[in-house]
């Protein structure tokens, strides 16, 4: 009885989520780990040793991380100002921005990737615009390049940057900035020492969302850059779907998972340290 009473009843609210995730995520994850760490019925790390001793696999890890970081940065550069605008806007303008952010979420990734294929073509609008502006001498191809992949992927993931930042920023009391101003704080100081620390939790969850989606994306690189650019996710997919090499597939999946989780955990730890002090 004592033990039961100590459980906060509010804690019970997470029970459905815990059961659901435990069943459809936790158990399969254990299965995946087991496959990666058991070879021919014997526990072994040979799969990982083999993976990490191949220089090519480090290139794949590099590809995966570089693209994820660039996509996250681009999403942040686009998403942060948008989130501020959204928080400040009122009435119809706010509704319009929200619709513009949320509506594209209902369009499938494959459709978006195909649309980018048209936009990034040699005779597509981006190439034409750059030529018209005199930045390019002749139409060039952006399709199937890393730049094209980053631009296209950021388009897919940017709502997941905007929405968490917006939900935090809209709760920041505007009077805090005014109070700082009356105490003599310059605009730059107010932004960096008052506003940014308060917005940081939103930024960190936006980064965590976008990074973890970008690091594991499969369909977008498949369609926007193709077979010549391998990431951990595409390598995993191929190992399972085509090569029937479950050992390699589960190894790359575990490596991907560890990378994604550690980046997300590290970023939230950093934010707690720096955000907490202010």
């Amino acid at each position: 009885m004592m033990a039961l009473r100590r459980i906060d009843p509010v804690g019970l609210l997470v029970l459905p989520a815990v059961l659901y995730l435990g069943l459809v995520y936790g158990l399969p994850l254990l299965n995946l780990l087991a496959r990666a760490l058991v070879i021919d019925g014997v526990p072994s790390v040979a799969g990982f040793v083999k993976f990490f001793s191949d220089p090519f696999d480090w290139i794949v890890i590099g590809n995966t991380l570089r693209i994820a970081v660039l996509v996250t940065l681009l999403s942040l550069a686009i998403g942060f100002p948008t989130a501020l605008a959204l928080a400040r806007a009122r009435g119809a303008a706010q509704a319009l921005i929200l619709v513009a952010i949320i509506l594209p979420l209902s369009v499938g990734v494959v459709v978006k990737a195909f649309a980018w294929q048209i936009v990034l073509r040699r005779d597509g609008v981006v190439s034409q615009a750059l030529v018209a502006l005199g930045l390019w001498d002749e139409p060039q191809r952006l399709l199937f390049t890393e730049a094209g992949l980053v631009i296209g992927a950021a388009n897919v993931f940017v709502p997941f940057m905007i929405l968490p930042i917006y939900s935090v920023v809209k709760l920041i009391d505007p009077r805090l900035g005014e109070a700082a101003a009356t105490l003599g704080a310059a605009p730059g100081y107010r932004f960096f020492r008052v506003f940014l620390p308060l917005a940081l939790p939103g930024i960190v969850s936006g980064i965590a969302f976008v990074f973890s989606m970008a690091v594991s994306m499969y369909v977008v690189p498949n369609l926007l850059i193709g077979d010549r650019f391998q990431t951990l996710a595409t390598l995993t997919g191929r190992s399972f779907l085509l090569m029937r090499n479950e050992q390699l597939g589960s190894t790359t999946a575990v490596v991907l998972l560890v990378l994604a989780v550690s980046v997300v955990v590290a970023s939230s730890a950093l934010s707690r340290r720096f955000g907490g002090q202010s």
């Binding site: 294929q117 048209i118 199937f144 498949n222 193709g226 077979d227 010549r228 191929r238 090569m243």
Partner: protein
């Protein structure tokens, strides 16, 4: 085509199907014993021609009912694995690389000329692993090109390497079955070795392929995407390109054409085999025999844009009579593929 399928669906066969549906729930074993029913597992893309041409022909001749399950080769393999000992599939139509896996697991009953006489009438290279399976049709691999962009059609595989097509070429990934000939063609172009030799020694092929990189728009894994780019004119050629897919797009009005290079085209595998422990084993061999026969193949080569494997089957319209057709050594592919893909990843990367 429509009339064919309607003729097959007579009032009696509808009644029979209805009764069968009722029976299936009650006594599936009994049903199979009484109505002579044959279950064939194939690819979803086979469905139109199997249902419109093969089934009506077969049902009329043998008075048996055929149920065609159209999925994917690997799904059929799994169905056989799961039901080992109590198979319900009698015949499988699968890609050759998957046939090899099925042979390794002991899931196939070898074909013999005694049980399927047409086996003796096939072109060389159409029977595999001592008759474990045979090819009934062979879609072929040539070069697909955009008619608007290319005023003169490509004539040789070497055209893919021509520097004037910088950024305009798409090739399939080596992980796609239709992508394998890129490697063999490159080897042949580099050393002049025969296509058979180039399949065994791929080193020269890999070195030659590095020279195509500047020409590549991309390497595809999703075929529809590649054809989309070709039809829009962003890409000018896809090679190797599968006849069955390209002709389907062409028929739909896409501005593309398929060329047969002078060095010859490659045959793609469409294998057929009898399942070991198959129900209605005699009928299963009869079904295979029909698909290996010239009469049925002649009706199928047109709609599927494929070559027949029976010596007596005429070539589909539009192909040169002296066309060379190269066969791919699938056992060699099965043994080497993961090494090839691994090297391909490294050397063809951006």
């Amino acid at each position: 085509m429509d009339t064919i399928s309607r003729a097959g669906l007579s009032r009696r066969s509808i009644l029979k199907a209805g009764a069968a549906a009722g029976f299936t729930l009650a006594a599936p074993g009994l049903l199979r014993a009484e109505t002579k029913e044959l279950v064939v597992g194939g690819a979803a893309s086979h469905k139109p021609w199997v249902e419109q041409v093969v089934i009506p022909n077969f049902e009329k001749k043998y008075g048996a009912k055929i149920i065609f399950e159209g999925t994917k080769s690997l799904v059929n393999l799994e169905k056989m694995q799961k039901n080992k000992g109590s198979q319900y599939l009698s015949v499988v139509q699968m890609d050759d690389p998957v046939m090899i896996l099925a042979v390794k697991e002991g899931l196939l009953d070898p074909l013999t000329a005694a049980k399927a006489p047409n086996l003796a009438e096939l072109v060389p290279g159409a029977t595999h692993m001592d008759g474990m399976w045979a090819n009934y049709l062979q879609p072929w691999l040539g070069i697909a090109y955009n008619k608007t962009a290319m005023k003169t059609p490509p004539t040789s595989w070497a055209d893919l390497f021509d520097p004037k097509y910088k950024g305009r070429i798409i090739i399939p990934s080596l992980q796609n079955t239709e992508g394998l000939p890129s490697l063999f063609v490159a080897g042949h172009l580099a050393t002049g070795a025969s296509f058979a030799a180039a399949q065994k020694d791929t080193d020269a092929g890999f070195k030659k392929l590095a020279g195509i990189k500047a020409n590549l728009l991309t390497i595809y894994t999703q075929m529809p995407q590649a054809y989309n780019l070709l039809e829009q004119g962003e890409a000018w050629m896809i090679g190797p390109a599968m006849s069955s897919f390209a002709s389907e797009r062409k028929a739909a009005g896409a501005p593309i054409e398929l060329a047969a290079p002078k060095e010859g085209v490659f045959a793609m595998p469409s294998g057929i085999a009898v399942v070991k422990g198959a129900p209605q084993s005699d009928l299963a061999f009869a079904y295979v025999n029909e698909l290996l026969g010239a009469a049925l193949q002649a009706q199928l080569v047109g709609p599927t844009a494929s070559l027949g494997t029976n010596k007596a089957t005429p070539k589909p319209a539009g192909l040169p009579a002296d066309l060379t057709v190269h066969q791919i050594d699938w056992a060699n592919v099965a043994a080497e593929r993961s090494n090839w893909v691994s090297r391909w990843d490294r050397e063809m990367a951006l």
